[in-house]
């Protein structure tokens, strides 16, 4: 059998190689800060991939995704805060004083974001189109203002985390270990997303994206499937938030602001909607551009703004689509093998 590597396989292989070797190379090049930046990219990549599930596959344009990211972060922040202070977590039964154990915090972050996604999704999915966009935005803003109003948890200034989560045997203060842990979580999440997207459930989502009325006419209770996808996506964002809280040792209401949702959305579109892997590229591109451009000028936004407009207008499959040389739909056909 002749070895025939599609462009897609090559791109994936190179990407994987880069992600795996980056910290080692960075260290060797005397630039370990790069690893820290890369961790940030990976964290946002998880958030972006989670958004792609509903945006790229389900055509649900949610401007509230940042809310779930923020919730995940705040769960970790609040639990750490109470553990550190030795104070009791309010509104919960018993006298729990929080925890810094990742085994407890992170799954809890995922569950709590999932829970909020269930409520917000259940209400928002009664609407469609631009109304859906606005109502998801509204809910995110409500949460944003809520967190600002709670002085115990920092209010507008946010909350500092005095300790990162504990996850034996890892030392999460070690940048390299943190990076590899995040990478492992990202790859696991991507693999999971890929299976979901190619399953019967995924087909329903894709069908809803293309022609929801027909899906109903065929016999699908589309609301239930969209809501489920919305919750899964919210949980993914929650995981990303938990990691972000650790990474920056800070949580703030800004994480929930609608402009944060906008940024994540940009990452998905820039990278390539509906490709599962594209958003990783999108996160990398956007954050790297910020890093690099901001060293030249503090007005780097002037470049990013038009760049974004151009990508939307002309690069239909995002950067991933351009690299792989196909539209996202064609890619998906291949990707199912």
């Amino acid at each position: 059998m002749a070895l025939q590597f599609s462009r897609r396989t090559v791109v994936h292989a190179i990407g994987l190689a880069v992600m795996v070797t980056l910290p080692v190379v960075a260290d060797a090049a005397g630039n370990p800060f790069l690893t820290t930046v890369a961790s940030r990219v990976l964290i946002y990549a998880i958030a972006a991939v989670s958004l792609d599930i509903i945006l790229g596959f389900g055509a649900m344009v949610s401007f509230g995704h940042g809310a779930f990211f923020g919730i995940g972060a705040y769960v970790v922040g609040i639990l750490t805060h109470h553990a550190f202070n030795g104070s009791v977590v309010p509104f919960l039964p018993g006298e729990w004083m929080g925890t810094t154990s990742a085994i407890l915090q992170w799954p809890l972050a995922i569950l709590v974001s999932g829970f909020f996604a269930l409520i917000i999704g259940a209400l928002s999915l009664r609407t469609q189109g631009v109304y859906f966009i606005m109502i998801t935005l509204a809910f995110a803003q409500m949460l944003y203002y809520l967190m600002i109003s709670l002085p115990t948890y920092g209010g507008e200034d946010g909350l500092n985390l005095w300790e990162r989560s504990h996850l034996a045997p890892f030392d999460l203060y070690d940048e390299q270990q943190f990076y590899y842990l995040t990478l492992a979580l990202l790859l696991a999440f991507v693999a999971l997303t890929r299976r979901i997207v190619n399953s019967r459930f995924g087909m329903v989502l894709k069908g809803c994206k293309q022609n929801e009325p027909r899906m109903k006419a065929l016999g699908f209770a589309t609301y239930r499937y969209k809501l489920t996808a919305f919750v899964i996506a919210g949980m993914g964002a929650g995981l990303a938030g938990a990691l972000a809280a650790n990474h920056t040792e800070f949580v703030g209401p800004g994480m929930m602001h609608w402009t944060r949702s906008g940024e994540i959305m940009v990452m998905v579109i820039l990278g390539g909607m509906g490709t599962v892997v594209g958003p990783i590229l999108g996160a990398a591109t956007l954050l790297m551009m910020e890093e690099v451009l901001s060293q030249y000028t503090e007005h780097w936004m002037v470049i990013l703004g038009p760049f974004l407009v151009v990508v939307v207008l002309f690069l239909r499959g995002g950067i991933y689509g351009w690299l792989v040389g196909q539209t996202p739909e064609q890619d998906r056909e291949q990707g199912d093998d």
Binding site: R195, I196, N198, S199, R200, F201, G202, M203, V204, K206, G207, Q210, N211, P213, R214, M215, K216, A217, L218, G219, F220, A221, T222, Y225, T228, E329, D336
Partner: protein, 249 residues
Amino acid sequence: MTDPVLEVFELTKSFGAVAASDGLTFSVKRGEIHALIGPNGAGKTTAIGQLSGEIQPDSGRVRFDGQDVTHMPTYRRAQLGLQRSYQITSLFPEFTAEDNVAMAIQAQQGHSFQFWARAKRDASLRQPARLALGRVGLEDKANIKVTELAHGEQRQLELAMVLATGPTMLLLDEPMAGMGQSESLAMMEILRPLKGEVGILLVEHDMDVVFALADVVSVLVKGTVLMTGTPEQVRANAEVRKAYLGDED
């Protein structure tokens, strides 16, 4: 076997000042091909919409297979075996022909909250899909994306999708819209054997098709049924000629 599979009582629906359905009453027997004809604006598509559940009537009742489905959402009716095809092609443009049919079949196989197994390799979906495509003559187009199919082939696909679900009753809204002569004939040969198996409500403009296929014809004028009878009776009726056949060029 001769009890009605679909009963419509006094369906009324107005859009503003226009009464699209005005006391619509008729019934379709099991296995019967029942044509619904009428001049433009008579309210045929609105009628179909109320039967499929996509439009809510202002008043009246719809009974399907013994159940009152008047206020039942569309997806529930489909699960019960009432399937609809569209006058303006409504497919999944990015999917292949086989994907489209597989989707229809998947809807009938219980819930789709399965997250792990790859749907495109699921024989219980793909095999019946291929069979259904074969029935309408689209086997060799199975892996072609819908956007690359010719119009006639898309209409065939519309039909394949609803047939694949093993329906109790079909609502076919001008299935041959925009098709050429030979394509229409081919489709008639696909529909003909369904007589006796599946109840069909067929909205049609083409009189040749109606006379060739229909057991019963209802003439719809201004939202209400002018008369119901065999094709010959309808053809001979003077009022019908005046209201409808007389206006046709």
